[in-house]
Amino acid sequence: MSQIETFYDVMRRQGITRRSFMKYCSLTAAALGLGPSFVPKIAHAMETKPRTPVIWVHGLECTCCSESFIRSAHPLAKDVVLSMISLDYDDTLMAAAGHAAEAAFEETIEKYKGNYILAVEGNPPLNEDGMFCITGGKPFVEKLRHAAKDAKAIISWGACASYGCVQAAAPNPTQATPVHKVITDKPIIKVPGCPPIAEVMTGVITYMLTFDRMPELDRQGRPAMFYSQRIHDKCYRRPHFDAGQFVEQWDDEAARKGYCLYKMGCKGPTTYNACSTVRWNEGVSFPIQSGHGCIGCSEDGFWDQHGFYERVTGIKQFGIEATADQIGFATTAVVGGAVAVHAAASALKRAQKKTEEA
C-alpha cells in the first residue's frame, strides 16, 4: 500500500499550498455538514491515508453528470478530485484513447484490486444481450460487471445509474436498468438527480475518499446529508404557498412577484434534494428561482408520472408544518410507490437514524 500516494501528496504535486489545503479541509467539513472539530480529522486523514483510486465509467447516458461535476463551486475541490480521478480511469476526460485506454482500464483494476471505488455514470441496457451500448467491442453491462467485481464500493451518479432516468421511460426500448439491479453484491451509494448538483457530487466523493467509508444513507441508499429534506421544505417561495399566492400562468403578475409554482406542476413538495439550499451553477439559482417548477428529477420514476406540468394533488395547503409526514403519505396516492418509501422514511428518520454503512 505504501507506494500509493496520499491525498496530500497528490495535492502538493498539483502545486496546492498548505494554506489552501487547510482551507479545502474546512470547506469540505462545511459542505458535508460537519462541525469545525472535523477539520483536523479531515486534514489528518488526507495527510496519512493512501488515496483511494476511482474508476469512472459511462454507460447509457448523456454525460450531464460529468458536466455538472466539473463545474463544482470550489475550484480546489474539483481540481483535487479531478486529478485524483485522472490518475486512474475516466473515459470522457482522460488523455489516452482507443486500445491504450482499454489497457489502462484493465491495468487500474488489476493494480488496485479490491481497493478502488467504481463511479458509474449512466446505466446498462439489457435488451438484446446489451447490444444497444457497446464500448470497446463489448456490451457495457459486461464492462460494468467486470469493473464491479473487484470494486470496494460503487457510486451510482445521477438518475440514470440510480433509477434508470428518461432512457428507461416507457416503453423502455433498450431495457435501461439501474446499476443496483445488475450489481447486487457490492455496497452502492445512489446520488440521484438529472444531473446531481455539483457540490453534492464533490461532497459525496470527498467524504468517501477522506473517511474511506460511505456517508450515512437513507432507506433508498442516498446520502442523508443531501437528500433528507424536500425541495419544498427549504424553498424560498414557500411563504407564498402557505399564503395561497400562486402563479397561474407563466410571466403573469404573480410570476414576476415570485409566487409559488405549485399550480404550474411544481414537484418540490414530493422531491428530496438539496436544490433549494445548495442551489445550482455555484449557488446562483435553481429551477424554481428561474420561474419553472421542479420536475422531481432526483426521484425514482419521475420520467413516467403523468405530465410534467400537472399539479401534484392532495396536498393540504395550510398547517403544513404540523403534518409534514401526512403530506408525504397524501402524495403517495398521486406519485406512486417511489414516494411511499420516502414518506415512511421521513417518519422513521426522527425515531431511529438508520445508518447503512459499507
Binding site: Q14, L60, E61, C62, T63, C64, S66, E67, S68, I70, R71, P75, S83, S86, D91, T92, L93, M94, A95, A97, G98, A101, E102, E128, F132, C133, I134, T135, G136, G137, V166, Q167, A169, A170, P171, N172, P173, T174, C194, P195, W250, D251, A255, R256, W280, N281, E282, S285, F286, P287, I288, Q289, S290, G291, H292, I295, C297, W303, G307, F308
Partner: protein, 476 residues
Amino acid sequence: MSETPRLVVGPFNRVEGDLEVQLDLAEGRVASAQVNAPLYRGFERMLEGRAPSDALTVTPRICGICSISQSAAAAQALAAASGLVPTPQGALMAALIHAVENAADHLFHFNLFFMPDFTRPAYAAQPWYRLAVERFAAINGAAGRAAIEARTQLMHILGLMAGKWPHTLALQPGGVTRAPGPRDKLRIETSLRQFRKYLEREVFGGSLEEFVALGSIDALMRWQHGDVGLFLEIAAETGLADLGRGSGRYLSFGAYPLAEGHGFAPGLWCAGTLSPVDPSGIVEDLSHAWMLGGAAHPFEGQTEPDEAMREVAYTWCKAPRMKGEPLEVGALARQVIDGHPLARELAGGGVLARVAARLLELARTQILMEQWAAQIDPAGVFMHHGAVPENGTGAGLVEAARGSLGHWLRIDGGKIASYQIIAPTTWNFSPRDAQGVPGPLEAALVGAPVMEGEDTPVSVQHIVRSFDPCMVCTVH
C-alpha cells in the same frame, strides 16, 4: 502489405458518447472508412403517446452537453404546432441562453477535446510541443483549467435565467419562464464582460473585434497571439488545412431566431452558391443503419431498431440526405452561409477550416451576446400563452453548437403520435446511403495518412474531432 489492412479505431475518448471508426488502408492512407455509433437509447419511441409538452423535459436529456439546443428545438416544434411565436423579448432571452451554451461548447471543444491531441508523444520532436503540453495536456494543461473556470463563470447566466444547467426548463414555446429584472440584466452584463476578458487574454490574445475583422486565410495565418496563435502555428506545420477536406456542401437552419431575423442566417451552400433551405427535401435513408422501414421524411419516418442487426448495416445512425445529398453542418457551415468573408474562403476546407470557423464563431457569438444583453427590457413581455392543439404538426429547426438540429413532431388526439430528431452529428457522421454515398466524416477520412505501426492514427483523431462529434445526440 499484401491484402487490404483493416483498422478499427475506438472507443474514442474526449468525445461525448461512444464511437468506432473502421478504416480500410492502402499504401499508408485511408482508402475507405465506416463510422459506427454503437449506442442507441430510443428517445423517439419513448415520446410516443406522451403529452406533447413532455418533450420539453425529455428531449434535453438526450444530451448533457447541448441540452439547451434540444430544449430550443422542442420548444420551437411545439410553438409551430400551436401557432405560437415567442414574444420579441422572450426570443431575445432564449437566444442569449442558447448562445451561452453554444459558446461554452466551442470553448470546450477547442481546449479539452481538440487541442490535447497535439500533446501526444508522436509530436514530441516538434518545436511547439513543450508549449502545447504546458497549455493543453489532458486535465492538467493550463488552458484547459482556465477554460473550465471561465465557462463556469459564464454559465452563471444560465443559472440566473435558466435555473440549472444542464437540462434547463426555462425555454417554452411562447418564450421563457423567467422575466429578468434590472439586477439580472446587470449581472448578465458583468458575466459577459468577464468572459470577454478571458477570451481576449487567453484564447485570442487580442481584441475580438480585430479577430472578427480578419477577411482572408492569409490574414488569419498571421494571427500570432494567444492559444489561437499556437493552434495556427501547429496547423501550418502539420498541414491541417488539407487534412480531412470536406465536400463544401453546407446546411444551416439559421441560429438565434429573433424578431428582426436570425443571428446567423439560414441557408444551403452548394458549389459556391447560396440558396434557401427547403426542409421538405430532407429524407432519412436507412439502408446502412440497424433500423427498419424505408427512407422517409422525418414527419413520416419512424425509429424501429433492427434487433437482428443485419449484416449490410453497420451503425445505429440513420443517413439524412437533402435532396439525395449528404451535407456538412456546424460552425463552418453556419459562418460560410452567414457570409463571413474569412469563412467563405475556408469553405470546402478540412481540419483547419472547421476549427478556425469555430473560433471565429466564438468571437462573433460573444459580440452578439453583449448586444442582446444590452437590449434586455425588464418591462417587456417574455412569454406568449397558447394551448397545444389536439391534432397538428410542427418542426423545430435550430442550430446547436455542432450544427443543424431538427425536431419533427406530430400530435394526434392530444398525444405525441410521432417525434423524429435529426441531430448535427447524424448529418456529419451518417453512414452510406442506398446509393453507396458515404457520409461527410466517412468521405473526409479518405486519404488520411496512417504511419507504419499506428493503431490510433493521429490524422484520424484530428479529422474526427474537427467535426466536434456528439454521439449521444447522433443516435438518441
